[in-house]
Amino acid sequence: MKNNPVYRREVTVRSRSFRLPLVILIFNTILAVFSLFSMYSTVAQVRVSAQVSYESFLQLYAFAATLEFLLLMFIMPALTSGSVSGERERQTLELLLTTKMTAADIVTGKLMAAFDQMGLLVMSSFPIILLTFVYGSADIGGIALLLVCFATTAAFCGGIGILASSVTRRSTFSNVCTYGFLLLIVIGTLMLNQFVLQLSEMRISEAAYQFGAEQTVADTGAAVYLLLLNPFVTFAEILSGQISGGSRLFSLSAFLGARPENFVTGHWTAISLCVQAALSVLFVRGAVRSLGKNRRT
């Protein structure tokens, strides 16, 4: 793996650029400024009111984790969606394709390079996140779960990015496709559920008006399972489970209505992580296939 030529070249080239250090600096500065300020104000409050509100530390943890998650969702596509199409635009892809490297080697190298940049960014901010542990927040298991979620989301976003960049000719178009698709998955599925929920509410109130039927709770039916694809919902589930003391299906409860828990809703986090991981694998395989085909059209 470490011997992947594309990966090694990316690392060499990256070491000459100031971009990554700059991103790390800016990101951690924002995180640190906010965390320290929030801590300071909590402590100041304690001095005045003699009351410690532990929630604010949990909020701090939630904020740091969310910021990191959003960053991941924004940066991972940027790192991958220009990777293969960039080589194509620069007219270097054909040189690579006539070497002994396979399409899979090229895609893997590109993905690994994106992953370790991302990993660096996440890891570098860990000390600041750990700051929130001074007064207690999530436990180690919770942190580990969060990291698994980060890794899955990175793979998911990276997979979309690399697939788009293998299929399209231009990096700009690939960028647009990647962010568009991601938006559809993250915002689109939520909006769809919201819409279906409203329809359901309308139908219920109508029924109640006409027949005086017993008030039921609105739900979104099967549409809720689309949210399994949404990394943000998974993340929100994990986080809310941690800061609200283990209560499940925090963000989904509105869409689920009064429907009984089934296997999927009972294991939402695990199942959605698996679904997203499986999709990531499909995206990457799609990218490899499309690149392999490029060689022979």
Partner: protein, 317 residues
Amino acid sequence: MLKIEGLKKRFGNFQALSGLDMEIEEGALYGFVGPNGAGKTTAIRIITGLLKPDEGTVEIAGIDALREPRRVRDEFGYVPDEFGMYDNLKVREYMEFFASAYGLDGLVARNRCEELLAQMKLEEWADAFVDSLSRGMKQRLCLARALIHDPKLLVLDEPTSGMDPRTRLEFKEMLKELCAEGKTILVSSHILSELAQMCTDIGVIDAGRIILSGSMSEILQKVNESNPLLIRVAGGKREQALNVLKSDERVRTVVIRGGEIAVRFGGTERDEADLLRKLVGAGVAVSGFFREQGDLESIFMQITNHDTEKVVLRSEE
């Protein structure tokens, strides 16, 4: 070394290759000539596995290139007509990158890179960034890169375009050297005379098929035959000479050009001698009898225009 049979490729409703046949012997420096849009790049991309043909076979060093695309990549090195360079990468790193892309690593790779950079006269630039190199140097670097895995066959697509005459000459010398070292080389160009100085064999492609091929000397012979014989007659015996010429069936056209008779004559040198003997035998005072010196471009124009009379008309003016 390279054997192509019946290669066909269609883009939409444009037939780019229509049954291309080609055979390159081991150790040959093969010039692949044709006008713009003839299908050179298309053929080369198929040879290198970047494009799939509709029909036909490609065999490199005995390996079916279409069936075993991965195995055959050990056998050839490719310099495309247009290629890019990476930013922020040094010449040495560029070479080592491609070495590892061919599975060469460590000391072996490093030595091979140094050796090739020296051979391509790039060792002074080993620590320069690749995108800062001049065009000629980039071309040499790309050639060095193509040689990294010591392939038997080198495929170069218009490598000398955009080079100044001096660089061009040096590049050709390099190719000759490589050929002398035992590499088989396929080099494309749209200028025949440029290849003539170095190639051992030539194939002329037009509209997707080979229309003329053979060793350089055979081609030159053909060029020679397509040029007119110029006959100068002393003492007003021109009529007699014309009668002899008209009665000879090897003579195709006769044009009177100033004081000379230009004859399109299809025959070998022996036939020429025979014609001269006939003329002298008929009492014609021949004071000059020679082939007009052929220039390669005119034959190239002639065969790629499918217009056999063109040369004669041109020389008449």
